[in-house]
Amino acid sequence: MIEVKNVCYEYSPDEPSLGAAVEDINLTVEDNHFYSLIGHTGSGKTTLIQLMSGLLKPTAGEIYIDGINICDKKIKTRDLTRKIGVVFQYPEYQLFEDTVFSDVAFGPKNLGCDEAEIKNRVQKALKTVGLDESYYEISPFELSGGQKRRVAIAGTIAMEPDILVLDEPTAGLDPAGRDEILSEVKRLKDERGISVIMVSHSMEDVAKVADRVIVMNKGHIAMTGTLSEVFSKSDELYSMGLEIPQISKVILKLRENNVNIKSEIYTVKDAVTEISKLLKG
């Protein structure tokens, strides 16, 4: 569990005129949930991720992971990386080893795992992202964009963190590649009971996988709640530069035309079920 208490991050505390990237952040990330973090560009999403993973220190406030204050200077980075793992935007640019296997092995090696444990973790992580043994000895640079991205995600998964954070994991991927990565992450979350925090600009993707949504606006947390608690406020989302899924727009328009259909519909699957009911009378 992550608890963020009254956190503020100023670019330069000596020069208040530069302002704060995030302010008054109070947030609890519970175990075993799939969170989506949404907000306009520059709303502070990436800063918040960097704070929660200990890469930035807050200029005010505290952050606890499983009750441990991560801002405490005595906390070792290595201990923190076991708890929270981050996959940044376009992580394929961070691949550097000469084979897929050794790239994914880099993390567990640095955690001090022994050979057998490293092998075990790398195999599991690559399996999770859908890459079989035939990829192990290939250079990551020979792979397609989508495959490289999966290798990079496997590198973080192999650290086996309790909380996995992904910053726009599907940006620039084609629809099939996007759906594969989303379902792999969802399965990982369900099988291991970890928490996932996924930054996304695609409301359709958010509706597909998330059960909780955190909305940021201009450096503040604007809303948190379940998928339907957040997506039911379409006007507010729109005013913050966000959207609702296309299918939800259809439902909204039907309701405006006095069609008696429930509003909490955010996926095509639910829409098919509800509209079928309606048509069968």
Partner: protein, 281 residues
Amino acid sequence: MIKTEELKFSYKSEDKVTDVLNDININIIEGEFVAVLGRNGSGKSTFAKLMNAILLPTGGKAYVCGIDSADEDKIYDIRKNIGMVFQNPDNQLVATIVEEDVAFGPENLGVEPSEIRKRVDWALDVVGMREFAEAAPHHLSGGQKQRIAIAGILAMKPQCIVLDEPTAMLDPSGRREIINTVKQLNRELGITIVLITHYMDEAALADRIIVMSGGSVCLDGTPKDVLTQRERIKSLGLDTPQVTELMYNLKACGFDVNDKIINVEECVNELLRLIKKEKND
């Protein structure tokens, strides 16, 4: 505007030749708005680069504004007329002030200073960014930066603009800004648009969709023809808009629906018709 004949492109390294494009025969006419879809690695971006002679064909021909792109003496005539906008706005802006950035293109073309002034003001007006003329690009949002990149291209008065995933890194409101700008350039100024995208709802706005797969063109038609071929589209690793998916599924459930639907408005009207019919029966 852009015509290719048996166009081929392959990369050569020491020991092997990789074919990227095979026998592309395409004719994009003046004033068209064409969306190009395809999986990562299907050759979309290579095709885009052949359109303004960043790359030259290794076989066949590309004629751009009637000029053979392999004619080195005329390369500037091609570049002047075919502008390109790429995915990452931060990689495309060169100056520290917005209007200087927009002036960069025409300056390099040797346009008269008084004419440059006129073009810069006009281009910023078109993209709705005049009030930011003296701002620093790094203070702008992603959508705003991308509009400045488009203004910089417009100031060169091109006949055609090729955009390679211009919205991949943008938030929903940034995407709306860019898509509205692109539509306006096409409808009001008659500029030919080639839009490469992974977003099916963006492609649905075009006059024509070209789908690429494995370096060849495999579908070419109106958005309605292409996007409603659901099985084919899925097998190509692509997706249909959510509204199309909804209608496809309702039809599969045995309802008598029109499944040739690609936007929210059509979808709502068709559903209202069905619901009304159901009530009367």
